[in-house]
């Protein structure tokens, strides 16, 4: 036993799968200790906010100011002037401001503003310019001067008499330390269509999906194992009946069955456990078949005969002389069943047949919502890509663990 475990943990494939899987699991377990918010709490009043840190505007105004000489305004001056206005400025400077073409070509947005402030004069001779155009230049000049000036913003508050009263002024050299702002929230993966924090939702959805996979895998493995052991060991008519039922379940496409069952159960009754149980009930057949075939080859072994001769009961023989020999296979089948259970849930939820949506999110449902609100069309990658990544990682790690176990238990496969 100890040796087997050591062998398993020397298989690199198994170890990588194990680390990925339990890393994900640990993250889902630890995350709620740091972020206590309700995963389905609608934080944003709108669809698909970008990932980033969000700070309250009001708190920014109230926070303590530091005066720093960072040319914040001039560094983005150009963004505030429209392209058409920039062209007008270049025209005026070339024709009436005595600025050479080379100088203009070399100037970027900020240099252009500097040149404008130096050379523009509304009383200069502007031959051939319409009066309306002249006035337009005057208005443009005012705007640019206002933009470039370090004039204070005045924050006015309504007083008791209903009049505005200056309470504070903010100038462009004043900065706020983000640590001083009381209300800020880091939305690492932004928000989804309902304005929910995607990361928090994702963590909970992963947990729910793993739970579904675990329940579905356990149900499927238990049913398959039990029927496989009994039909293989007892044989005869009982075996024929069981294998008939198994074949029946194998030929009926289990996904269609799954859709029909979940649909007929109804939206309100569809809980997480029910969905998991339904998935488990439709996917036990392959476990049953392969366990049965292994048991048939085992039941004629000498150690089983010896156990019979020692007067052991059937249940004891099955549990002590047959089950341990198929255990390694059953463990591998169980791991695959977990993975396929998670995928089946995602498929069902994508079709809108997942667990009822009011209290929990699952990975499949998050993808369903993202599709319905066309996140893929408006470029909101954060609403679906992390979900796809998590599903892929789970399935990948479980399959890797399965392959690793396979190589340990069937040494012929080792390369």
């Amino acid at each position: 036993m100890k040796n087997t475990l050591r062998n398993i943990f020397h298989s690199p494939k198994f170890v990588i799968g194990f680390i990925i899987f339990f890393g994900l699991l640990a993250f889902t377990l630890i995350y709620p200790f740091f972020v206590a918010a309700d995963p389905l709490d609608m934080v944003g009043q709108g669809n698909f906010f970008k990932p980033g840190t969000y700070v309250s505007v009001q708190d920014t105004v109230d926070a303590k100011y530091y005066t720093l000489n960072i040319q914040a305004k001039s560094s983005n001056l150009g963004d505030h002037i429209e392209e058409k206005d920039k062209q007008d400025m270049r025209d005026w400077l070339l024709n009436y401001g005595e600025v050479s073409q080379e100088e203009l070509d070399a100037a970027d947005d900020n240099a252009l503003v500097v040149l404008w402030l130096e050379h523009y004069d509304e009383k200069a001779k502007q031959k051939g310019l319409l009066a309306s155009k002249k006035k337009a230049y005057v208005r443009l000049n005012k705007e640019i001067v206002k933009l470039a000036s370090d004039a204070d913003l005045i924050i006015a508050v309504e007083n008791e008499d209903g009049e505005l009263e200056e309470s504070k002024s903010v100038d462009s050299k004043q900065y706020v330390n983000t640590k001083d702002i009381a209300n800020q929230r880091k939305l690492v993966l932004g928000t989804d269509n309902f304005g929910r924090d995607v990361l928090t939702e994702l963590v909970q959805a992963t947990k729910v999906s793993l739970k579904i996979g675990l329940i579905a895998g356990t149900v499927a493995t238990l049913i398959g194992l039990m029927l496989g052991l009994l039909s293989g060991y007892i044989g005869g008519l009982f075996d024929n009946i069981i294998i008939f039922i198994t074949n029946l379940f194998t030929v009926i496409p289990s996904f269609v069955l799954l859709i029909l069952i979940t649909y007929s159960v109804g939206q309100n009754a569809r809980g997480v456990t029910l969905i998991a149980a339904v998935i488990g009930l439709t996917s036990w057949t392959w476990t049953c078949r392969s366990v049965r075939s292994q048991v048939i080859s085992l039941r004629n072994r000498d150690h089983v005969n010896l156990s019979k001769l020692s007067g052991h009961s059937m249940i004891r023989i099955v549990l002590t002389d047959i089950l341990p020999y198929v255990a390694s296979y059953v463990v591998m089948a169980f791991i695959l069943q977990i993975s396929s259970g998670i995928l089946a849930e995602a498929q069902l939820s994508m079709l809108g047949l997942g667990p009822s949506t009011t209290s929990t999110a699952t990975l499949g449902q998050m993808m369903n919502w993202a599709t319905m609100y066309s996140a893929h069309l408006n470029g909101s990658w954060w609403a679906y890509f992390p979900v796809v990544l998590v599903i892929t990682l789970i399935a990948f790690s479980l399959n890797l663990m399965n392959t690793g176990l396979d190589q340990v238990f069937n040494p012929q496969l080792r390369d």
Binding site: D302, H303, N305, L309, S310, G311, M314, P324
Partner: protein
């Protein structure tokens, strides 16, 4: 030592085993009659595929008899139902061909021997008593129980495993022991030890040993009675001296010729 003096132990009348049906029908054992007497070593000799193991499994009650009947101690044996089978298995036990697959590799050796004590009704004995019994059984087969306790079967050699199987028989003390090629997977040195132990079982406990083998030399060395089996039928049977020194059936002659001889030219033409 005439047959009349010895009590009947296991007899068969027209015992047959058929596998499958229709086109795939295989007759493994074909209407065999036998009469095994108490306190004898009976060899069943035949080449592979002649139905020896099938017959032994039928005698053990592990598979059903298609036709004919088996008499145990003079009366038809009744092994329908788990309880009756359990009773029957107190009287008949087996050693199998492959010691490596005879053990459940997940259980410790102690459990194999403890099962035997439990089966003999010693379930409630104090552990010291059980330990003494197990040590006695192990010393019967020249093993040291103290060295074996808490070990797993795969930590033993093939010879040790097979000797432990005999220790198990010693603890159970059944009336009949079915030894299904107990020496074929074991090296020649351990072979004679095992055979000696089978002889010891007969002499000390008056056990009937049914010794199944493909090696007619071994059969001659050990048996009182020999049954030669070909294609599911007994072609010849009788005391070992008669059968092997003066064979009547062609098949027996061929089997005897197949045994390599050390100081003679070996005629391979019939092999």
């Amino acid at each position: 030592m005439s047959d009349a003096k010895k009590a009947a132990c296991l007899q068969g009348k027209g015992v047959t085993k058929v596998f499958g049906f229709g086109d795939k029908k295989t007759v493994a054992v074909d209407h065999v009659d036998f009469d095994f007497r108490e306190g004898e070593i009976i060899s069943i000799v035949g080449e592979s595929g002649s139905g020896k193991t099938t017959l032994s499994k039928m005698l053990l009650g592990l598979i059903s008899v298609s036709e004919g009947e088996v008499l145990f101690q003079g009366s038809p044996r009744d092994i329908r139902g788990g309880r009756k089978k359990k009773e029957y298995w107190k009287n008949i036990q087996a050693i199998f061909q492959d010691p490596f697959s005879s053990y459940n590799m997940f259980n410790k050796i102690d459990s194999v021997l403890l099962d035997c004590i439990n089966m003999r009704g010693g379930k409630n004995l104090p552990y010291e008593e059980k330990f003494k019994m197990m040590s006695e059984a192990c010393s019967f087969v020249n093993l040291e129980f103290k060295e074996l306790t808490n070990k797993y079967p795969f930590e033993l050699s093939g010879g040790q495993m097979q000797r432990l199987m005999i220790a198990r028989i010693f603890l159970l003390k059944p009336k009949i022991l079915l030894a299904d090629e107990p020496t074929s997977m074991i090296d020649a040195c351990s072979r004679s030890t095992i055979l000696d132990m089978l002889l010891k079982l007969r002499d000390e406990i008056n056990m009937t040993v049914i010794f199944i083998t493909h090696d007619i030399g071994l059969a001659y060395y050990i048996s009182d009675q020999v049954y030669i089996m070909e294609h599911g039928k007994f072609v010849e049977h009788g005391p070992a001296e008669d059968c092997i020194i003066h064979p009547k059936a062609e098949y027996t002659k061929r089997l005897i010729n197949d045994v390599p001889k050390i100081y003679e030219e070996w005629d391979l033409s019939t092999v």
